[in-house]
Assembly symmetry: C2
Homo-oligomer: 237 residues x 2
Amino acid sequence: MSLSRRTLGKALTPDVGRGIPDATVARLPIYGRVLTSLITAGNSTVSSDHLAALCGVSPAKLRKDLSLLGSYGTRGVGYDVGFLSAQIDRELGLSRPWRVVIVGAGNLGRALVSYRGFESRGFEIVGLVDSHPDVVGTRVTVGARELLVLPSASLEALVRQSHAHIGVIVTPAESAQAVAERLVAAGIRSILNFAPVVLTVPVGVEVRKVDFGVELQILAFHEQRRGEEPMSQAMHA
Amino acid sequence: MSLSRRTLGKALTPDVGRGIPDATVARLPIYGRVLTSLITAGNSTVSSDHLAALCGVSPAKLRKDLSLLGSYGTRGVGYDVGFLSAQIDRELGLSRPWRVVIVGAGNLGRALVSYRGFESRGFEIVGLVDSHPDVVGTRVTVGARELLVLPSASLEALVRQSHAHIGVIVTPAESAQAVAERLVAAGIRSILNFAPVVLTVPVGVEVRKVDFGVELQILAFHEQRRGEEPMSQAMHA
DNA sequence: TAGATTGTTAATCGATTAACAATC
DNA sequence: TAGATTGTTAATCGATTAACAATC
């Protein structure tokens, strides 16, 4: 009973499976975005040195990461940006649409709805719910479309009818766990959690967490550490 | 991450000679938040098993992490939640106030301003700027206070006069790099970047990045992988 | 003492890096 | 060919884990 349920699942499998390491997966979206901007800029090929610099990683790491997807480069030449971009998108699953439900229409929820990066990457926001009567029934514009804020009670129906894949929790901390349970019960197995709580979910459900407070605290830590140490080299504005 | 092996022979200061590992630092805010909720709930002590379960990590990892801060537990008993919480806050630098400037007063910028988790953790938002004439001059409420949206031109003055430590960039991708450069020139050395771009900053400036798109793409990856594998191994609840 | 739980060790696992042979 | 750059190797580094002696 002391162990979290989540940690139990991965013990016995003899990893012959050729999965991409998590650290690499976490970098693929960055490579993808930079490649997109290179395509827009009209480049046709790019070397690992150049791409790595644009992505803020070392060339060795970049080549290692890309080699895990396959041999998509040309020695002496570099990578075809369009082709590589397509391979990364395919690997990440961006070549098919993913339907997203957003729970919570506060400031942050509305900011997410109007965030252009979703639609442009193939994510479709199929619904937005909120429990606050003042907010229910109002509209939020998403690009060309308009989204109606639905009452909290219709969450399950929304998930089922839209066949949503991903639930985004943007509620206060107090309601997040209950929302997560309702999402899972309705069939959702991927959750993006913005509430400052650790969610407990059944094995097989994937939760990712975004917490501005945590990021700020880590910055504060480094700021403090810097103040403690005598300034060495560094700094040239 | 320069490391200075300097011996300030203080009895109560734990041996932090080579610094807390990044992976541990990233978890400290989570431990801190859970401890805060335990304090609120009236608990006085907690075991590593229990705390680990609440934080979603393994007990071994938790004890290892905490042992890097010092020996703050009692064998056979556990940890005093108040004391441990204070040690983590001190380690993270939360026992002193940090002043934050927010650049960009769009949906997301305003969501951040009204995010309670900042003030409650000792961060003070000292200013909010935006380049859009329609937005400049409007007000945003932060808890009890009200924040006036300042014009972009006053960014440098704001940073200097408030002695801000941290800059938060919530602008569109196009303007983010320019804003970063202005922040750094004005003396900021810690940046939290919400714009979907990789920022280039001088050595000594710390940048952390939050990107919802990246998180969603990683979820999509796992969702796809799950669909591909005929759940043979991998899953047993 | 007997039971509980920490702090630490040593082994393992995974990720990063430098170097270079392969090859365009 | 000569120069450029990938893909891969092997070494290193860092993080995780299981186990248990220390000790409350």
